[in-house]
Point group: C2
Chain length 157, copies 2
């Protein structure tokens, strides 16, 4: 039974790249569980989507769609920073990881972070980094991350 | 005398954007004071420089050249991340700030961080962030930053 259930969940919750039609599947509402994110007009969404699409593999947003409900239930993004240090090395930056509160405990967050980390590795990054709250440290440790530095911020608005 | 000296230093240490000829002015050697950065061939340098130039204002590397010695003595970079959250907001990421050990104490680091922060603000970012060691926190606090989260990392090599 365990195996059968796992297999089913594998099929219901697949990670894929963001599509423009995901706006109508609750993508923006999902982001609202993460932080401030007012409603976005279809035009503004399309504009930002196309700006990001121009970056190709250098900026990827992935989602998990619940294939039963047709809702987007998890997301995260990664962009590839090109540097001069480390012999013109690259670093992956993971941002905006969120899992719908109704589907927590299914390892979907781990799946998203795994997908994004693997993308950074495949793009030739020597490391992938992210900032998180102290409360989320155990989750990222389970994803294979270690705490290194501290994050500093300056707000303009 | 104080004023005259300050004015002179203002002219000697101006912040400007990285130019391809800065490779011959000690730019790579300066980065080596920050972290691992082997020698970079002229071809590899040009290739990376041109890749970054394509990003335009979305990825800026600034330098301070000592106009007396013709050496690059400080640098830092900022790239602009485009998001869906915060109503399609943008975030500036400051990276790879370093000041030559021979010119510490002249506030050049503060000048670099100020230049990069101002660029992020002018680009419409709602915040600018960076990761640093606990030891460097006081410096960034003097630059107007506050500690917020923690940085997690996963190395591939």
């Amino acid at each position: 039974m365990q195996t059968a259930n796992s297999s089913t969940e594998e099929e219901i919750f697949r990670v894929r790249k963001l599509e423009i039609s995901d706006k109508n599947k609750g993508f923006v509402e999902l982001l609202q569980q993460l932080t401030v994110c007012g409603s976005i007009s279809d035009e503004a969404f399309r504009e930002r989507f196309e700006e990001l699409a121009k970056c190709g593999d250098d900026h990827v947003i992935c989602v998990i769609e619940d294939n039963n409900s047709g809702k987007i239930v998890a997301t995260g993004s990664v962009f590839i920073e090109k540097k001069f240090i480390r012999n013109c090395g690259k670093v992956g930056h993971i941002e905006d990881v969120v899992v719908d509160s109704s589907v927590r405990g299914k390892q979907l967050g781990k799946k998203v972070v795994g997908f994004l980390s693997e993308h950074a590795r495949a793009m030739g990054c020597y490391k992938v980094i992210l900032d998180c709250s102290v409360e989320n440290r155990p989750f990222y440790e389970r994803c294979g991350f270690k705490q290194k530095e501290i994050q500093m911020v300056k707000y303009f608005v």
